[in-house]
Amino acid sequence: MTHDDTGGSVPALRTTGLGKRYGRLWGLRDCSLSIPPGAIVGLVGSNGAGKTTLLEMIIGLRTPTDGQIEVLGHTAHANTAESLARVGYVAQDHPLYPDFSVADMFHLGQAMNPNWDMALARSRVEALDIVLERKIKTLSGGQRAQVSLAMALAKRAPLLVLDEPVASLDPVARLEFMREVMAQVAGGDLTVIIASHVVSELERFCDWLVVLTHGHVQLVGPVDGLLEEHQMLTVPRATPDADLPGIIIHRDDSDRHSSVLLRTSPATPAAQAHQGWHTETVSVEELVMAYLLRPIKAANSSNSARGAQPSGPITKVMSR
């Protein structure tokens, strides 16, 4: 399974050669993704990696400098009603008007969205015992997050974008929030993109992964496939890079041994033949960390568009 395998249907989100330049600096460059409908995508990247830029372009808050975005086959044009209608968005810190009541916020949602589902919005907060007459400023952080989520869901957009949705929440509120998201995904064709620093959270909920560093997509694909393509190898420290059967994503040298996170292709299956080599499967957290720690040079020389395939220019660069 490769990253652009969407089972023949129209991808929920496709970006081609997407780039955004701020003055002379590129906030995001050459970003090509294809996400199938129904996926729950974890978007990971260190601060300044281009996450917010990517999200804002997907939502339609920003116009790309290069490339284009398609949501369910429709080309997105920033700041137009048609494009805005296709994406639901929960912004970081769940901004809401503090002096509005919950009912006022929903009334705003109804006034500003043609497909607004008031019954859905009300049932979501009622299920959580949030009183509609309460002012936003009297709600807890977790409740505010739930109201934001209810608003994004009631917009009835096929793509839902959550920017650091649980970063400011306590563990119970985190769990409740993600439970709501999962319940909605289970009920329909909703595709969800979750940008988060909390990798453990993503591991639990996401079936797709996008790793962004230095304005480039480093890794993209279904979690299962990515875990199969990577392995953690423990080798004697003297082993040269060239002997390793794949692309070195991260190498950690200790006194006698090196632990190496390798991306292998199906063609080079096993390393067991070598004496003293030890193979382990990787966790999502290890995988993400390895890509985030990758030096800028190695990261940027790989073509982001082909980030998921261990072939072409990456191999040449890495196998010196």
Partner: protein
């Protein structure tokens, strides 16, 4: 969208209403006192047959008891009022969204942000226009007795009656909205908007206004010496000349026995009000247009 704009400005609307009520109470008390005094002193009769010449004592007494309440009070308290009203509504309009981060919410609903902004601006400007017009009516009503003595072309009256009061409010509003979009903070935007507002007010009032139309002149012979020259209240406009209510601009030539004064006749009052209000409304539209463009461009 109109409901959204209304809901966001609801507390400001209530504050505006409270302000209007306070002004109405003040105006009612003072206006009734002035009216009582005006009729008790028979000023109406006096003005009718001699334009106040035959009853200088009554005119002087009236001016003494109410002049400071009506005119000086206006200058110190009310000069900045339209600026403060407009800026207080305009400054948070965009800046508050940027401060709270709610622009991400507002601009990601199914309404393009330029439409969102235009509707908000229209609703707020309409509300301010109603408030400005209502305040103008209250002020005009309670000042009426004083205006019969001085006319309403004098600075004290001109700036708070007619169209200009509302136009000043709108201009301060526009400046503050733009300042809010640029500075991204409500309070600094409010203060920053007042500076150009005061500057433009001063330039228009003292440099442009006297020359909206070519001034007329009148010649006065005063055998006993002409005294201090041009001023703009009843004491300096000999009522015998029929010039009550004219806007005196300057004394051109004072030879001791003849004095030539240039002035704008009272009959031009509404033309002047329209020209000045037009200037401020045009400036407001330019500033608001720039703001809409700026916010639209933020998407790029």
């Amino acid at each position: 969208m109109i409901w959204v704009s209304w809901r966001q400005h609801r507390s400001q609307a209530i504050t505006g209403l409270a302000l209007l009520c306070a002004l109405a109470v003040y105006g009612l008390v003072l206006g009734l006192q002035m009216r009582t005094s005006f009729s008790n002193n028979n000023l109406a009769t006096c003005l009718a047959h001699s334009q106040g010449v035959s009853c200088p004592n009554a005119v002087g007494a009236f001016d003494n008891s109410f002049g400071s309440l009506v005119n000086i009070g206006f200058w110190s308290v009310l000069l900045l009022l339209p600026g403060l009203i407009g800026a207080a509504v305009g400054a948070p309009l965009i800046a508050r969204e940027l401060e709270l981060g709610t622009w991400r919410l507002a601009w990601s609903q199914t309404v393009p942000r330029s439409r969102w902004l235009v509707v908000k601006l229209a609703v707020a400007a309409a509300g301010l226009t109603v408030l400005g017009a209502a305040m103008t009516l209250v002020i005009t009503w309670y000042r009426a007795p004083m205006d019969r003595l001085t006319g309403h072309f004098v600075h004290n009256a001109y700036d708070y009656e007619g169209f200009v009061f509302t136009a000043y409010i709108l201009f301060a509003f526009g400046l503050a909205v733009l300042a809010g979009a640029l500075l991204r903070r409500s309070i600094p935007a409010l203060l920053a908007a007042l500076v150009p507002w005061v500057a433009v007010r001063i330039v228009v009032e003292f440099v442009l206004r006297p020359h909206f139309m070519a001034p007329l002149t009148f010649r006065q012979t005063c055998p006993h010496g002409c005294g201090g020259g041009g001023g703009n209240n009843i004491v300096n406009v000999p009522p015998s000349t029929g010039h009550i209510g004219n806007l005196l601009i300057k004394t051109l030539n004072n030879t001791g026995t003849t004095q030539v004064t240039s002035y704008q006749p009272a009959s031009r009052y509404w033309a002047f009000q329209s020209i000045e209000a037009g200037i401020f409304v045009a400036l407001t539209l330019i500033v608001l247009g720039a703001t809409v463009w700026l916010v639209h461009r933020r998407a790029a």
